[in-house]
Symmetry: C2
Subunit: 306 residues, 2 copies
Protein backbone atom coordinates (compact mmCIF):
# COMPACT_ATOMS: atom_id res chain seq x y z
CA UNK A 1 0.00 0.00 0.00
CA UNK A 2 1.22 3.46 -0.80
CA UNK A 3 0.07 7.00 -1.27
CA UNK A 4 1.78 9.44 -3.58
CA UNK A 5 1.82 13.13 -2.77
CA UNK A 6 2.86 15.98 -5.00
CA UNK A 7 3.23 19.41 -3.42
CA UNK A 8 5.66 21.80 -1.82
CA UNK A 9 8.61 21.37 0.51
CA UNK A 10 9.35 24.68 2.20
CA UNK A 11 11.24 26.51 4.88
CA UNK A 12 8.72 28.51 6.90
CA UNK A 13 9.38 31.52 9.08
CA UNK A 14 6.36 32.09 11.28
CA UNK A 15 5.41 34.55 13.99
CA UNK A 16 2.29 34.22 16.12
CA UNK A 17 1.22 34.96 19.71
CA UNK A 18 2.89 31.74 20.89
CA UNK A 19 6.32 32.43 19.44
CA UNK A 20 8.47 32.48 16.35
CA UNK A 21 10.21 29.88 14.23
CA UNK A 22 12.89 30.63 11.65
CA UNK A 23 13.07 28.46 8.53
CA UNK A 24 11.23 25.51 10.03
CA UNK A 25 10.58 22.47 7.85
CA UNK A 26 7.20 22.89 6.17
CA UNK A 27 5.30 22.71 2.90
CA UNK A 28 2.14 20.83 1.94
CA UNK A 29 3.91 17.63 0.86
CA UNK A 30 5.85 17.47 4.14
CA UNK A 31 2.84 17.92 6.44
CA UNK A 32 0.87 15.45 4.33
CA UNK A 33 3.65 12.85 4.37
CA UNK A 34 4.30 13.00 8.10
CA UNK A 35 0.57 12.58 8.82
CA UNK A 36 -0.02 9.83 6.25
CA UNK A 37 3.09 7.80 7.22
CA UNK A 38 1.27 6.57 10.32
CA UNK A 39 -0.98 4.51 8.03
CA UNK A 40 0.84 3.68 4.83
CA UNK A 41 4.08 4.15 2.93
CA UNK A 42 4.43 7.52 1.25
CA UNK A 43 6.08 8.55 -2.01
CA UNK A 44 6.85 12.24 -2.31
CA UNK A 45 7.16 14.41 -5.41
CA UNK A 46 8.50 17.91 -4.87
CA UNK A 47 11.53 20.12 -5.44
CA UNK A 48 14.07 21.66 -3.07
CA UNK A 49 17.17 23.76 -3.60
CA UNK A 50 20.77 22.77 -2.96
CA UNK A 51 20.51 24.73 0.32
CA UNK A 52 17.93 22.30 1.74
CA UNK A 53 19.33 20.96 5.04
CA UNK A 54 20.41 17.32 4.96
CA UNK A 55 18.89 16.84 8.43
CA UNK A 56 15.41 17.49 6.96
CA UNK A 57 16.08 14.93 4.21
CA UNK A 58 17.14 12.48 6.87
CA UNK A 59 14.05 13.17 9.00
CA UNK A 60 11.76 12.34 6.09
CA UNK A 61 13.79 9.22 5.23
CA UNK A 62 13.69 8.10 8.86
CA UNK A 63 9.91 8.19 8.66
CA UNK A 64 10.01 5.92 5.62
CA UNK A 65 9.04 8.63 3.13
CA UNK A 66 10.25 7.64 -0.34
CA UNK A 67 12.26 10.59 -1.65
CA UNK A 68 13.03 9.22 -5.12
CA UNK A 69 10.63 11.85 -6.46
CA UNK A 70 12.22 14.75 -4.56
CA UNK A 71 14.28 16.74 -7.03
CA UNK A 72 17.22 18.80 -5.79
CA UNK A 73 17.81 21.77 -8.07
CA UNK A 74 20.56 24.35 -8.10
CA UNK A 75 19.27 27.35 -6.18
CA UNK A 76 17.32 27.98 -3.00
CA UNK A 77 14.38 26.13 -1.47
CA UNK A 78 10.90 27.70 -1.41
CA UNK A 79 10.58 30.03 1.60
CA UNK A 80 7.43 31.41 3.17
CA UNK A 81 7.23 34.03 5.89
CA UNK A 82 3.91 34.67 7.62
CA UNK A 83 2.26 35.91 10.75
CA UNK A 84 -0.98 34.79 12.36
CA UNK A 85 -3.91 36.51 14.04
CA UNK A 86 -4.35 36.12 17.81
CA UNK A 87 -6.75 33.16 17.40
CA UNK A 88 -4.42 31.50 14.80
CA UNK A 89 -7.30 31.37 12.32
CA UNK A 90 -5.86 33.84 9.78
CA UNK A 91 -2.39 33.84 8.24
CA UNK A 92 -0.93 36.93 6.62
CA UNK A 93 1.88 36.38 4.14
CA UNK A 94 4.81 38.71 4.77
CA UNK A 95 7.13 37.27 2.15
CA UNK A 96 7.14 34.49 -0.43
CA UNK A 97 10.31 33.37 -2.21
CA UNK A 98 9.33 30.66 -4.67
CA UNK A 99 12.96 30.06 -5.70
CA UNK A 100 13.32 26.58 -7.29
CA UNK A 101 9.56 25.99 -6.76
CA UNK A 102 8.82 28.68 -9.38
CA UNK A 103 9.77 26.31 -12.21
CA UNK A 104 8.64 23.07 -10.60
CA UNK A 105 7.80 20.46 -13.26
CA UNK A 106 6.94 17.21 -11.53
CA UNK A 107 8.58 14.27 -13.28
CA UNK A 108 7.73 10.97 -11.63
CA UNK A 109 10.31 8.18 -11.35
CA UNK A 110 9.13 4.91 -12.93
CA UNK A 111 8.77 3.35 -9.47
CA UNK A 112 5.96 5.85 -8.78
CA UNK A 113 3.66 4.74 -11.62
CA UNK A 114 1.66 2.28 -9.53
CA UNK A 115 0.21 3.70 -6.33
CA UNK A 116 -3.01 3.01 -4.44
CA UNK A 117 -3.79 6.64 -3.75
CA UNK A 118 -2.69 10.03 -4.96
CA UNK A 119 -2.89 13.40 -3.29
CA UNK A 120 -2.48 16.49 -5.41
CA UNK A 121 -1.63 19.16 -2.86
CA UNK A 122 -2.18 22.84 -3.48
CA UNK A 123 -0.11 23.55 -6.62
CA UNK A 124 -0.86 24.91 -10.11
CA UNK A 125 -3.80 22.87 -11.48
CA UNK A 126 -1.89 22.28 -14.72
CA UNK A 127 0.85 20.55 -12.76
CA UNK A 128 -1.79 18.53 -10.90
CA UNK A 129 -3.08 17.34 -14.27
CA UNK A 130 0.46 16.54 -15.48
CA UNK A 131 0.98 14.31 -12.46
CA UNK A 132 -2.30 12.51 -13.06
CA UNK A 133 -1.12 11.80 -16.62
CA UNK A 134 2.07 10.18 -15.32
CA UNK A 135 0.49 7.51 -13.09
CA UNK A 136 -1.65 4.47 -13.80
CA UNK A 137 -5.13 5.43 -12.61
CA UNK A 138 -4.90 5.09 -8.82
CA UNK A 139 -7.79 3.68 -6.84
CA UNK A 140 -8.37 6.95 -5.01
CA UNK A 141 -7.36 10.52 -5.89
CA UNK A 142 -7.65 13.55 -3.65
CA UNK A 143 -6.80 17.13 -4.41
CA UNK A 144 -6.52 20.50 -2.73
CA UNK A 145 -6.50 23.97 -4.21
CA UNK A 146 -6.55 27.59 -3.05
CA UNK A 147 -8.06 31.02 -3.75
CA UNK A 148 -5.13 32.00 -6.01
CA UNK A 149 -5.74 29.13 -8.48
CA UNK A 150 -9.52 29.50 -8.28
CA UNK A 151 -9.16 33.13 -9.34
CA UNK A 152 -6.21 32.87 -11.74
CA UNK A 153 -6.60 29.40 -13.29
CA UNK A 154 -10.23 28.56 -12.86
CA UNK A 155 -10.42 26.46 -16.04
CA UNK A 156 -7.47 24.40 -14.85
CA UNK A 157 -9.10 23.81 -11.47
CA UNK A 158 -12.36 22.74 -13.12
CA UNK A 159 -10.49 20.32 -15.39
CA UNK A 160 -8.76 18.64 -12.43
CA UNK A 161 -12.03 18.40 -10.49
CA UNK A 162 -13.40 16.10 -13.20
CA UNK A 163 -10.55 13.66 -12.53
CA UNK A 164 -10.50 13.35 -8.74
CA UNK A 165 -12.49 11.40 -6.15
CA UNK A 166 -12.34 13.91 -3.34
CA UNK A 167 -11.71 17.64 -3.11
CA UNK A 168 -10.32 19.10 0.11
CA UNK A 169 -11.24 22.77 0.32
CA UNK A 170 -11.78 25.36 3.01
CA UNK A 171 -14.99 27.32 3.57
CA UNK A 172 -13.98 30.58 1.91
CA UNK A 173 -12.50 28.80 -1.09
CA UNK A 174 -15.70 26.73 -1.44
CA UNK A 175 -17.73 29.96 -1.56
CA UNK A 176 -15.29 31.51 -4.04
CA UNK A 177 -15.33 28.45 -6.30
CA UNK A 178 -19.13 28.17 -6.41
CA UNK A 179 -20.37 31.72 -5.80
CA UNK A 180 -22.77 30.32 -3.17
CA UNK A 181 -23.17 31.58 0.38
CA UNK A 182 -24.43 28.56 2.31
CA UNK A 183 -21.99 25.72 2.81
CA UNK A 184 -24.57 23.11 1.93
CA UNK A 185 -25.20 24.74 -1.44
CA UNK A 186 -21.45 25.08 -2.04
CA UNK A 187 -20.99 21.37 -1.46
CA UNK A 188 -23.76 20.38 -3.87
CA UNK A 189 -22.32 22.71 -6.51
CA UNK A 190 -18.84 21.22 -6.10
CA UNK A 191 -20.16 17.66 -6.35
CA UNK A 192 -21.75 18.67 -9.65
CA UNK A 193 -18.27 19.65 -10.93
CA UNK A 194 -16.96 16.09 -10.74
CA UNK A 195 -15.70 14.83 -7.37
CA UNK A 196 -17.71 12.09 -5.76
CA UNK A 197 -16.86 13.50 -2.33
CA UNK A 198 -15.99 16.94 -0.97
CA UNK A 199 -14.38 17.59 2.40
CA UNK A 200 -14.91 21.17 3.53
CA UNK A 201 -12.25 22.16 6.05
CA UNK A 202 -13.74 24.52 8.62
CA UNK A 203 -10.71 25.32 10.78
CA UNK A 204 -11.69 25.44 14.46
CA UNK A 205 -15.20 24.38 13.45
CA UNK A 206 -14.09 20.96 12.24
CA UNK A 207 -14.93 19.31 8.94
CA UNK A 208 -17.97 18.59 6.81
CA UNK A 209 -17.92 15.69 4.38
CA UNK A 210 -20.40 15.57 1.52
CA UNK A 211 -21.54 13.11 -1.09
CA UNK A 212 -24.72 13.32 -3.15
CA UNK A 213 -27.55 13.27 -0.53
CA UNK A 214 -25.13 12.55 2.32
CA UNK A 215 -23.39 14.69 4.87
CA UNK A 216 -21.15 14.00 7.85
CA UNK A 217 -20.14 16.75 10.25
CA UNK A 218 -17.38 16.41 12.84
CA UNK A 219 -16.14 19.00 15.33
CA UNK A 220 -12.46 19.50 16.10
CA UNK A 221 -10.62 17.61 18.83
CA UNK A 222 -11.16 20.46 21.28
CA UNK A 223 -8.59 19.65 23.97
CA UNK A 224 -5.74 20.31 21.50
CA UNK A 225 -3.75 23.35 22.59
CA UNK A 226 -3.10 25.12 19.31
CA UNK A 227 0.36 26.64 19.01
CA UNK A 228 0.78 26.92 15.23
CA UNK A 229 -1.97 26.07 12.74
CA UNK A 230 0.36 25.95 9.72
CA UNK A 231 -0.12 22.68 7.86
CA UNK A 232 -3.46 21.86 9.52
CA UNK A 233 -5.18 21.34 6.17
CA UNK A 234 -2.38 19.16 4.78
CA UNK A 235 -2.13 17.03 7.92
CA UNK A 236 -5.92 16.63 7.72
CA UNK A 237 -5.51 15.40 4.14
CA UNK A 238 -2.60 13.17 5.21
CA UNK A 239 -4.65 11.53 7.96
CA UNK A 240 -7.63 11.17 5.65
CA UNK A 241 -5.80 9.77 2.62
CA UNK A 242 -3.51 7.62 4.77
CA UNK A 243 -6.50 6.09 6.50
CA UNK A 244 -8.34 5.38 3.22
CA UNK A 245 -5.20 3.88 1.67
CA UNK A 246 -4.68 1.56 4.63
CA UNK A 247 -8.37 0.59 4.68
CA UNK A 248 -8.25 -0.26 0.94
CA UNK A 249 -11.85 0.86 0.82
CA UNK A 250 -13.63 4.11 0.10
CA UNK A 251 -17.16 3.41 1.17
CA UNK A 252 -19.06 6.23 2.92
CA UNK A 253 -18.47 4.57 6.31
CA UNK A 254 -14.72 4.48 5.70
CA UNK A 255 -14.61 8.07 4.46
CA UNK A 256 -16.42 9.27 7.60
CA UNK A 257 -13.84 7.50 9.75
CA UNK A 258 -11.11 8.96 7.56
CA UNK A 259 -12.50 12.46 8.13
CA UNK A 260 -12.36 11.94 11.89
CA UNK A 261 -8.82 10.66 11.55
CA UNK A 262 -7.94 13.71 9.47
CA UNK A 263 -9.18 16.08 12.19
CA UNK A 264 -7.14 14.16 14.75
CA UNK A 265 -3.92 14.41 12.74
CA UNK A 266 -4.58 18.13 12.23
CA UNK A 267 -5.20 18.51 15.98
CA UNK A 268 -1.89 16.84 16.70
CA UNK A 269 0.01 18.88 14.14
CA UNK A 270 -1.14 22.25 15.49
CA UNK A 271 0.23 21.46 18.95
CA UNK A 272 3.74 22.50 17.88
CA UNK A 273 5.55 24.78 15.49
CA UNK A 274 6.62 23.22 12.22
CA UNK A 275 6.45 19.40 12.09
CA UNK A 276 7.79 18.68 15.59
CA UNK A 277 4.62 17.04 16.89
CA UNK A 278 4.15 14.91 13.78
CA UNK A 279 7.83 14.01 13.86
CA UNK A 280 7.65 12.49 17.35
CA UNK A 281 4.13 11.10 16.93
CA UNK A 282 3.46 7.48 17.90
CA UNK A 283 0.59 5.28 16.76
CA UNK A 284 -0.45 4.81 20.38
CA UNK A 285 -1.00 8.58 20.69
CA UNK A 286 -3.23 8.59 17.61
CA UNK A 287 -5.14 5.64 19.01
CA UNK A 288 -5.60 7.42 22.34
CA UNK A 289 -7.03 10.48 20.61
CA UNK A 290 -9.25 8.28 18.42
CA UNK A 291 -10.84 6.79 21.54
CA UNK A 292 -11.12 10.15 23.29
CA UNK A 293 -12.75 11.75 20.26
CA UNK A 294 -15.37 9.03 20.16
CA UNK A 295 -16.07 9.53 23.85
CA UNK A 296 -16.36 13.31 23.59
CA UNK A 297 -18.77 13.29 20.64
CA UNK A 298 -21.12 10.42 21.47
CA UNK A 299 -24.56 10.93 22.99
CA UNK A 300 -27.68 8.83 23.22
CA UNK A 301 -30.34 9.93 20.73
CA UNK A 302 -32.82 7.54 22.34
CA UNK A 303 -35.36 7.94 23.85
CA UNK A 304 -36.87 10.48 21.45
CA UNK A 305 -37.31 13.94 22.98
CA UNK A 306 -41.08 13.93 22.36
CA UNK B 1 -43.07 21.49 34.88
CA UNK B 2 -42.01 25.02 34.19
CA UNK B 3 -38.99 27.13 33.47
CA UNK B 4 -38.71 30.76 34.52
CA UNK B 5 -36.73 33.20 32.41
CA UNK B 6 -35.69 36.70 33.31
CA UNK B 7 -34.23 38.85 30.57
CA UNK B 8 -35.03 41.43 27.92
CA UNK B 9 -37.95 41.95 25.56
CA UNK B 10 -36.86 44.18 22.73
CA UNK B 11 -37.69 45.63 19.35
CA UNK B 12 -34.74 44.93 17.06
CA UNK B 13 -33.81 46.73 13.86
CA UNK B 14 -31.30 44.62 11.98
CA UNK B 15 -29.46 44.90 8.69
CA UNK B 16 -27.37 42.11 7.22
CA UNK B 17 -26.49 40.73 3.76
CA UNK B 18 -29.83 38.89 3.65
CA UNK B 19 -32.06 41.90 4.31
CA UNK B 20 -33.41 44.27 6.92
CA UNK B 21 -36.04 44.10 9.62
CA UNK B 22 -37.49 47.14 11.40
CA UNK B 23 -38.49 46.79 15.05
CA UNK B 24 -38.87 43.02 14.96
CA UNK B 25 -39.80 41.19 18.15
CA UNK B 26 -36.61 40.20 19.96
CA UNK B 27 -34.80 40.16 23.28
CA UNK B 28 -33.18 37.34 25.22
CA UNK B 29 -36.31 36.39 27.17
CA UNK B 30 -38.37 36.17 23.98
CA UNK B 31 -35.94 33.96 22.05
CA UNK B 32 -35.50 31.77 25.11
CA UNK B 33 -39.25 31.43 25.71
CA UNK B 34 -40.12 30.55 22.13
CA UNK B 35 -37.42 27.86 22.05
CA UNK B 36 -38.22 26.43 25.50
CA UNK B 37 -41.99 26.36 24.98
CA UNK B 38 -41.61 23.29 22.77
CA UNK B 39 -40.68 21.32 25.91
CA UNK B 40 -42.25 22.92 28.96
CA UNK B 41 -44.39 25.80 30.15
CA UNK B 42 -42.54 29.10 30.42
CA UNK B 43 -42.89 31.98 32.87
CA UNK B 44 -41.39 35.24 31.70
CA UNK B 45 -40.04 38.16 33.76
CA UNK B 46 -39.20 41.30 31.82
CA UNK B 47 -40.34 44.85 31.18
CA UNK B 48 -41.80 46.56 28.12
CA UNK B 49 -43.05 50.09 27.47
CA UNK B 50 -46.61 51.16 26.78
CA UNK B 51 -45.69 51.26 23.09
CA UNK B 52 -45.14 47.48 22.97
CA UNK B 53 -47.42 46.10 20.25
CA UNK B 54 -50.37 44.06 21.53
CA UNK B 55 -49.82 41.58 18.67
CA UNK B 56 -46.46 40.61 20.22
CA UNK B 57 -48.13 40.10 23.61
CA UNK B 58 -50.72 37.94 21.91
CA UNK B 59 -48.07 35.92 20.06
CA UNK B 60 -46.33 35.06 23.33
CA UNK B 61 -49.65 34.22 25.03
CA UNK B 62 -50.64 32.02 22.08
CA UNK B 63 -47.50 30.01 22.70
CA UNK B 64 -48.52 29.51 26.31
CA UNK B 65 -45.88 31.85 27.74
CA UNK B 66 -47.02 33.07 31.16
CA UNK B 67 -46.80 36.87 31.06
CA UNK B 68 -47.81 37.58 34.69
CA UNK B 69 -44.20 38.62 35.24
CA UNK B 70 -44.05 40.97 32.24
CA UNK B 71 -44.30 44.50 33.54
CA UNK B 72 -45.67 47.25 31.30
CA UNK B 73 -44.17 50.60 32.23
CA UNK B 74 -44.93 54.08 30.98
CA UNK B 75 -42.40 54.85 28.29
CA UNK B 76 -40.84 53.04 25.35
CA UNK B 77 -39.69 49.46 24.96
CA UNK B 78 -35.97 48.60 24.76
CA UNK B 79 -34.75 49.04 21.18
CA UNK B 80 -31.57 47.69 19.59
CA UNK B 81 -30.25 48.52 16.14
CA UNK B 82 -27.41 46.46 14.72
CA UNK B 83 -25.73 45.28 11.57
CA UNK B 84 -23.93 42.02 10.89
CA UNK B 85 -20.76 41.02 9.05
CA UNK B 86 -21.09 39.11 5.76
CA UNK B 87 -20.78 35.72 7.50
CA UNK B 88 -23.30 36.75 10.23
CA UNK B 89 -20.74 35.92 12.92
CA UNK B 90 -20.21 39.47 14.21
CA UNK B 91 -22.84 42.03 15.21
CA UNK B 92 -22.05 45.72 15.38
CA UNK B 93 -24.36 47.83 17.55
CA UNK B 94 -25.49 50.99 15.76
CA UNK B 95 -27.88 52.21 18.43
CA UNK B 96 -29.16 51.10 21.83
CA UNK B 97 -32.16 52.74 23.50
CA UNK B 98 -32.61 51.09 26.88
CA UNK B 99 -35.80 53.09 27.60
CA UNK B 100 -37.87 51.32 30.33
CA UNK B 101 -35.22 48.55 30.49
CA UNK B 102 -32.77 51.06 32.02
CA UNK B 103 -34.55 50.90 35.38
CA UNK B 104 -35.67 47.26 35.22
CA UNK B 105 -36.16 45.84 38.71
CA UNK B 106 -37.52 42.33 38.42
CA UNK B 107 -40.34 41.72 40.90
CA UNK B 108 -41.72 38.21 40.68
CA UNK B 109 -45.44 37.52 41.12
CA UNK B 110 -46.16 35.00 43.92
CA UNK B 111 -47.16 32.38 41.33
CA UNK B 112 -43.55 32.38 40.12
CA UNK B 113 -41.97 31.29 43.44
CA UNK B 114 -41.98 27.58 42.61
CA UNK B 115 -40.38 26.63 39.33
CA UNK B 116 -38.39 23.60 38.21
CA UNK B 117 -35.77 25.57 36.35
CA UNK B 118 -34.59 29.14 36.11
CA UNK B 119 -32.70 30.90 33.35
CA UNK B 120 -31.00 34.18 34.15
CA UNK B 121 -30.49 35.72 30.72
CA UNK B 122 -27.86 38.33 30.02
CA UNK B 123 -28.76 41.18 32.42
CA UNK B 124 -26.96 43.02 35.23
CA UNK B 125 -25.57 40.32 37.58
CA UNK B 126 -27.07 42.17 40.56
CA UNK B 127 -30.52 41.74 39.06
CA UNK B 128 -29.75 38.07 38.39
CA UNK B 129 -28.97 37.68 42.09
CA UNK B 130 -32.15 39.56 43.08
CA UNK B 131 -34.21 37.11 41.03
CA UNK B 132 -32.51 34.13 42.62
CA UNK B 133 -33.44 35.57 46.03
CA UNK B 134 -37.12 35.72 45.05
CA UNK B 135 -37.61 32.05 44.15
CA UNK B 136 -37.53 28.85 46.15
CA UNK B 137 -34.29 27.14 45.14
CA UNK B 138 -35.13 25.66 41.71
CA UNK B 139 -33.84 22.24 40.76
CA UNK B 140 -31.72 23.65 37.95
CA UNK B 141 -30.39 27.17 37.34
CA UNK B 142 -28.70 28.44 34.20
CA UNK B 143 -27.26 31.84 33.50
CA UNK B 144 -25.78 33.85 30.68
CA UNK B 145 -23.62 36.95 30.78
CA UNK B 146 -21.66 39.17 28.40
CA UNK B 147 -18.40 41.09 27.98
CA UNK B 148 -19.95 44.31 29.37
CA UNK B 149 -20.78 42.75 32.77
CA UNK B 150 -17.52 40.79 32.90
CA UNK B 151 -15.63 44.05 32.50
CA UNK B 152 -17.87 46.42 34.46
CA UNK B 153 -19.35 44.22 37.21
CA UNK B 154 -16.92 41.36 37.55
CA UNK B 155 -17.59 40.86 41.28
CA UNK B 156 -21.31 40.59 40.59
CA UNK B 157 -20.73 38.00 37.87
CA UNK B 158 -18.50 35.94 40.16
CA UNK B 159 -21.11 36.06 42.93
CA UNK B 160 -23.83 34.73 40.60
CA UNK B 161 -21.55 31.98 39.28
CA UNK B 162 -21.43 30.50 42.78
CA UNK B 163 -25.21 30.08 42.71
CA UNK B 164 -25.88 28.49 39.32
CA UNK B 165 -25.69 24.99 37.88
CA UNK B 166 -24.72 25.90 34.33
CA UNK B 167 -23.13 28.92 32.70
CA UNK B 168 -23.81 29.61 29.02
CA UNK B 169 -21.00 31.72 27.61
CA UNK B 170 -19.42 32.35 24.24
CA UNK B 171 -15.76 31.74 23.39
CA UNK B 172 -14.52 35.32 23.61
CA UNK B 173 -16.36 35.93 26.86
CA UNK B 174 -14.91 32.75 28.33
CA UNK B 175 -11.42 33.99 27.49
CA UNK B 176 -12.22 37.42 28.93
CA UNK B 177 -13.65 35.97 32.13
CA UNK B 178 -10.70 33.65 32.79
CA UNK B 179 -7.75 35.31 31.08
CA UNK B 180 -6.91 31.97 29.45
CA UNK B 181 -6.30 31.37 25.75
CA UNK B 182 -7.22 27.73 25.22
CA UNK B 183 -10.89 26.84 25.51
CA UNK B 184 -10.17 23.77 27.58
CA UNK B 185 -8.32 25.83 30.18
CA UNK B 186 -11.11 28.45 30.16
CA UNK B 187 -13.67 25.77 30.93
CA UNK B 188 -11.68 24.33 33.82
CA UNK B 189 -11.20 27.83 35.27
CA UNK B 190 -14.94 28.57 35.02
CA UNK B 191 -15.87 25.29 36.70
CA UNK B 192 -13.60 26.32 39.58
CA UNK B 193 -15.72 29.48 39.97
CA UNK B 194 -18.85 27.55 40.93
CA UNK B 195 -20.98 26.12 38.15
CA UNK B 196 -21.11 22.37 37.88
CA UNK B 197 -21.40 22.65 34.10
CA UNK B 198 -20.31 25.17 31.50
CA UNK B 199 -21.66 25.36 27.95
CA UNK B 200 -19.32 27.27 25.66
CA UNK B 201 -21.22 28.60 22.66
CA UNK B 202 -18.96 28.55 19.60
CA UNK B 203 -21.24 30.09 16.95
CA UNK B 204 -20.83 28.28 13.63
CA UNK B 205 -18.44 25.86 15.37
CA UNK B 206 -21.17 24.42 17.60
CA UNK B 207 -21.03 23.94 21.35
CA UNK B 208 -18.69 22.44 23.93
CA UNK B 209 -20.10 21.21 27.24
CA UNK B 210 -17.82 20.75 30.22
CA UNK B 211 -17.96 19.22 33.67
CA UNK B 212 -15.02 18.31 35.86
CA UNK B 213 -13.08 15.72 33.80
CA UNK B 214 -15.79 15.53 31.14
CA UNK B 215 -16.29 17.17 27.81
CA UNK B 216 -18.86 16.87 25.05
CA UNK B 217 -18.41 18.59 21.70
CA UNK B 218 -21.16 18.97 19.10
CA UNK B 219 -20.98 20.68 15.71
CA UNK B 220 -23.79 22.86 14.38
CA UNK B 221 -26.67 21.52 12.32
CA UNK B 222 -24.90 22.43 9.10
CA UNK B 223 -27.78 22.31 6.59
CA UNK B 224 -29.42 25.32 8.29
CA UNK B 225 -29.46 28.29 5.94
CA UNK B 226 -28.57 31.16 8.24
CA UNK B 227 -30.47 34.37 7.55
CA UNK B 228 -30.19 36.20 10.90
CA UNK B 229 -28.16 34.92 13.82
CA UNK B 230 -29.75 37.26 16.38
CA UNK B 231 -31.00 35.25 19.35
CA UNK B 232 -28.95 32.13 18.50
CA UNK B 233 -27.46 32.00 22.01
CA UNK B 234 -30.80 32.49 23.74
CA UNK B 235 -32.59 29.93 21.60
CA UNK B 236 -29.72 27.55 22.37
CA UNK B 237 -30.32 28.17 26.07
CA UNK B 238 -34.08 27.81 25.56
CA UNK B 239 -33.70 24.44 23.87
CA UNK B 240 -31.19 23.29 26.48
CA UNK B 241 -33.11 24.43 29.56
CA UNK B 242 -36.47 23.37 28.11
CA UNK B 243 -35.11 19.89 27.41
CA UNK B 244 -33.62 19.53 30.91
CA UNK B 245 -36.84 20.77 32.53
CA UNK B 246 -38.96 18.28 30.57
CA UNK B 247 -36.52 15.45 31.32
CA UNK B 248 -36.63 16.23 35.05
CA UNK B 249 -33.08 15.07 35.18
CA UNK B 250 -29.69 16.70 34.89
CA UNK B 251 -27.34 13.77 34.57
CA UNK B 252 -24.40 14.12 32.16
CA UNK B 253 -26.24 12.01 29.57
CA UNK B 254 -29.26 14.31 29.72
CA UNK B 255 -27.15 17.45 29.55
CA UNK B 256 -25.37 16.17 26.42
CA UNK B 257 -28.73 15.55 24.78
CA UNK B 258 -29.86 19.00 25.94
CA UNK B 259 -26.80 20.57 24.31
CA UNK B 260 -27.65 18.89 21.00
CA UNK B 261 -31.24 20.10 21.36
CA UNK B 262 -29.95 23.60 22.06
CA UNK B 263 -27.93 23.66 18.85
CA UNK B 264 -30.98 22.47 16.92
CA UNK B 265 -33.22 25.22 18.31
CA UNK B 266 -30.50 27.75 17.51
CA UNK B 267 -30.21 26.33 13.98
CA UNK B 268 -33.96 26.73 13.52
CA UNK B 269 -34.03 30.25 14.93
CA UNK B 270 -31.35 31.57 12.58
CA UNK B 271 -33.32 30.50 9.51
CA UNK B 272 -35.46 33.67 9.69
CA UNK B 273 -35.32 37.25 10.86
CA UNK B 274 -36.70 37.90 14.33
CA UNK B 275 -38.72 35.03 15.86
CA UNK B 276 -40.63 33.98 12.73
CA UNK B 277 -39.14 30.51 12.49
CA UNK B 278 -39.59 29.80 16.21
CA UNK B 279 -43.11 31.21 16.01
CA UNK B 280 -44.25 28.72 13.38
CA UNK B 281 -42.14 25.84 14.68
CA UNK B 282 -43.78 22.45 15.19
CA UNK B 283 -42.56 19.60 17.40
CA UNK B 284 -42.43 17.34 14.34
CA UNK B 285 -39.88 19.70 12.74
CA UNK B 286 -37.68 19.55 15.84
CA UNK B 287 -37.97 15.78 15.87
CA UNK B 288 -37.01 15.60 12.19
CA UNK B 289 -33.89 17.67 12.84
CA UNK B 290 -33.06 15.59 15.93
CA UNK B 291 -33.00 12.44 13.79
CA UNK B 292 -31.06 14.13 10.97
CA UNK B 293 -28.46 15.47 13.39
CA UNK B 294 -27.87 12.02 14.79
CA UNK B 295 -27.46 10.64 11.28
CA UNK B 296 -25.04 13.35 10.17
CA UNK B 297 -22.74 13.04 13.20
CA UNK B 298 -22.55 9.28 13.75
CA UNK B 299 -19.66 7.15 12.57
CA UNK B 300 -18.35 3.72 13.51
CA UNK B 301 -15.26 3.93 15.73
CA UNK B 302 -14.80 0.16 15.40
CA UNK B 303 -12.68 -1.55 14.18
CA UNK B 304 -9.72 0.33 15.63
CA UNK B 305 -7.58 2.07 13.01
CA UNK B 306 -4.46 0.14 14.05
Amino acid sequence: MSVLVVGSVALDTITNPFGTIEEGLGGSAVYFSLAARAFTSVKLVAVVGTDFPEEHMQLLRDHGVDLDGLKVETGNTFRWTGEYSADLNMARTLDTQLNVFAHFKPVLPPSYRHVDSLFLANIDPHLQRDVLAQVDKPVFVGCDTMNFWIEQKREGVLEVLKLVDVLFINEDEARMLTGMKHLFDCAQAILALGPNTVAIKRGASGVALFQQDRVFVAPVYLPARAVDTTGAGDSFAGGFMGFVTKAQDHSWETLKRAAVMGTLLASLNIESFSIHRLHTLKQTEIMERWLEFQKMTEYKPEPAPF
